[in-house]
């Protein structure tokens, strides 16, 4: 797909920048993909879509005013004529809109060009292997593969290009009682053996779900949360939890942490760590974050995520966060709990593999609610007794990352982003498991 070649985007940008007047500047953000999506159910194909798309988002500044527009990019002459039309419309509109006092002007943060394009088997080959191996079990999910591009270029000479080729099988397996285990096989290097091992391992976990489920009454229990459940807890924190602008505008749940009225556990540390390499360090303005940004260290506030716009407004220092100041590459520090000791350390309580549909219950006290999902078990004296019927929880970040946090595992797991609203996501989360002295279930 020619639209995904950096030379085409660069040449188009130069054409556009040549149109700018003396008091104008511009940043172009490019995103594109060439993807196969195969929606799977009962280890069969429900829908297959081959997609190619590319878009450019223009951030256009004139004087102290700014407008944004987004158009498709096809690497043909239609791109230029549509862009010219939008530039002309913007110049008319500039006369009627107010100035932006917190304007972020383009800067030159360097030039980078990164392409990770390993050869994969054909989509048909990968899909056939999955369906042949999964044919004996009830598998549901989505197989995705192809190229993704993120790039940014501006009129003062900065240019960052990031192109990657990867695949993911985001799936779950079901037994006859429709109890399920969730799994993911993803990466840039396809291995038939690794796929087979991944599915076998998931089948083994599913076999543990054959015992009759136990209904656990609401109340407080000791809990072990696996890394995938912890990654869900971080997901909700991205909804303004560590955003400076959300904090300043009265909608941040960790206000007490920021004001040092409360701390979390010394065993809990959270950082943005771009050394994971799953997502580009540059944001939509082309600003390049430090490789690591500490947010909460040993339970104490270190930094919130601060975009340059927020920095301009509140006179604080930017750490080149994204426009939305959400987590892009979060990592939770590991601890000392060995994998082999998890059940023994839990003793009697709940082993929770995954959580579902989290939302704020009371932001003022950083309380969230959500559901257990997939392979969750009742454990007695260090032995798995039975899977559980799903439970609703309602608990505070100051409890599960704070006073209730007993141990953190000495290993962590990487969960690559598999979301695809608008376009395929990049990025991921790296989290350990956590052992809690108590966790409240309400329904």
């Amino acid at each position: 797909m020619k639209a995904l070649q950096s030379s085409n985007f660069e040449a188009f940008s130069k054409q556009i920048f040549a149109l700018l007047e003396a008091d104008e500047s511009m940043t172009l953000n490019f995103s594109g993909e060439e993807t196969i999506f195969a929606r799977l159910s009962n280890a069969k194909i429900r829908q297959v879509t081959n997609l190619q798309q590319a878009f450019i988002d223009f951030n256009f500044i004139k004087g102290n005013k700014v407008l944004n527009f987004n158009i498709p990019f096809r690497a043909d002459e239609n791109d230029f004529s549509l862009a010219v039309k939008k530039i002309s419309q913007s110049r008319e509109w500039f006369m009627d809109i107010p100035e932006d006092p917190y304007l972020v002007r383009p800067q030159h943060f360097g030039i980078t060009h990164e392409e990770n394009l390993k050869t994969l088997p054909t989509n048909e080959e990968m899909l056939a292997q999955i369906l042949d191996m999964g044919g004996n079990v009830d598998l549901a999910g989505v197989f995705t593969s192809g190229d993704i591009v993120r790039a940014t270029i501006n009129s003062v000479g900065q240019f960052h290009w990031f192109k990657t080729r990867n695949f993911s099988l985001d799936y779950s397996l079901y037994n006859v009682k429709q109890k399920a285990v969730k799994a993911l096989y993803a990466g840039s290097d396809w291995s038939t053996e690794a796929l087979k091992a991944n599915i076998k391992d998931t089948e083994f976990k599913l076999s543990l779900m054959n015992i009759e489920s136990r209904k656990i009454p609401r109340g407080e229990y000791r809990v072990y949360m696996a890394p995938s459940a912890v990654s869900e807890l971080l997901g909700t924190l991205s909804w303004g939890g560590v955003s400076m602008s959300a904090h300043k505008q009265g909608s941040a749940p960790l206000k007490d942490l920021w004001e040092k009225k409360k701390t979390m556990s010394p065993k809990f540390s959270l950082k943005e760590d771009f050394t994971l390499g799953l997502t580009p360090r540059f944001n939509s303005a082309g600003e390049v974050s430090a490789p690591v940004v500490e947010l909460i260290t040993k339970g104490e506030y270190k930094n919130f995520l601060v975009s340059t716009r927020t920095a301009n407004e509140y006179k604080v220092e930017t750490n080149f966060a994204s426009e939305w100041e959400s987590l892009r590459s979060p990592v939770v520090e590991t601890g000392d709990l060995d994998r082999s000791d998890i059940y023994k350390a839990l003793g009697t309580g709940l082993y929770i593999s995954d959580l579902h549909y989290l939302n704020w219950s009371d932001k003022e006290t950083a309380r969230i609610t959500g559901m257990t999902r997939y392979a969750c078990f009742w454990v007695e004296n260090g032995e798995v007794v039975a899977p559980i019927e799903d439970l609703r929880f309602d608990e505070s970040y100051y409890s599960f990352f704070g006073s209730a946090l007993e141990r953190v595992t000495n290993f962590s797991e990487l969960t690559p982003a598999t979301g695809s609203y608008f376009q395929r996501d990049v990025g991921g989360v790296k989290t350990p498991g956590i052992l809690l002295s108590h966790f409240k279930f309400t329904l």
């Binding site: 419309q89 048909e124 549901a140």
Partner: protein, 476 residues
Amino acid sequence: MKLNDLLVSLNDLKADYISLREVSIKSLTMSVRNEIFEGLSTSEDRGLMVEVMMDGQFAYGATNSFEPSEVRACAQKAQKAASEAARFGLAKFTHTERPMTKGEYKSPNETGIDDFNPKSVTKLLMDVSEAMKVHEHVIARNVYLQLTEMETHFIATNGSDIKQNINRSAINLSATASSELGNQRRTFGDDHTTQFGIDKFDHSKLVAAATRIASEAIELLNAEECPNETMDLLLAPDQLYLQIHESIGHPLELDRILGDERNYAGWSFVKPHDFGALQYGSPLMNVTFDPTVFGQNASYFADDIGNLATREFLIKDGTLVRGLGGLESQKRLDVPGVASQRAVSWNRAPIDRMANINLEAGNSTLEEMIKSVKRGIFMQTNRSWSIDDYRNKFQFGCEYGRLIEDGKLTKLVKNPNYRGITAPFWNQLKMVGDKSTFEVGGLSHCGKGEPNQLIFVGHASPACLFTNIEVFGGGK
């Protein structure tokens, strides 16, 4: 090349069926915070989805290029994928699942993006923001406006030819008050998204609403915490939209019942044999799929496989009678459905979705419902939602609560929440508000599907009274 010519040019592929769905979407968003202009963004998108059926299997190819060679390459990929899917196909489809339909639809909006005047709209948003400045403790005063125009042209080898222009506008206001007592946010409710134009935005009504919600946010700062207690619960329409969405709409989606969504959004407690049998709610409960409501957010003529959309009861007198799913799911499940196989844009295949899902009005006035309550609470405006993957155990939070004691509205309370289980909850529906309490709303973003899709839906509801609901507040 015209769409019809493109379709004709694919004749030699010898597919059992081909459809082309051309989608052009223009959108505009503008926001103001604390009387400061925060941004004006527009987008223009146009692309094409090619759908091919081979040996009973559908497959899709999507491109935003209209070069005949690119479209052809796209169709060939879809053809190949459909042929290969036959080996692993989940079900076998026929032309019955692709009816021949011709027609047109246009939203009732009188103004659109082409009429957008940045000067006058900036003034409107600034005035509304200013109107929220009722107290120094109102630290965030947000106004957000969105206009969307979606033009779809669907043609197929069976002769279908459908043109639809779905144009929507939405406005959202929020006021956040902050003091040593904490933070409280009050909004204008749902997205107020309809298929009317920006000319329907009433300046004086918006200013009055802005002043009201900002004053209520201040009131909430000083309010007592909502009690933890089982009591009667009176819900306003702007909370019921989400209650309907999460605990009626999603569980009735046929693809969830089939298990296609198990790995992502989840599935449903509803079983195929429940249709025509399950007492979903009290006999006062009547719920429709209604794509014919004039100006409601998700009204349309036909879905994205060309199936003509008609008003149907999903729940009649409390009994589940019909699901939310298009012709493919109806065939696989052998239950009645509706024309709701929808796609967010040209780049996604159509899946089973909600459209306008409305709770029909009953006979009680708001006063009668309040008067009937010995001890209860009136909650308004959703602020938090969560439900399990079978759509059973839910928890909702609202912005504004007022206790009802001995038949009268009394004390204001903050952080009101409630929880329950879907079918028992709807069976505890005791009174349904009449037309005077009925409001029409909508949501701009409903997420679902693998690959993921966000789509617009509509919900309408009267105020409703439920008995013996577990209510609780915030705090530790």
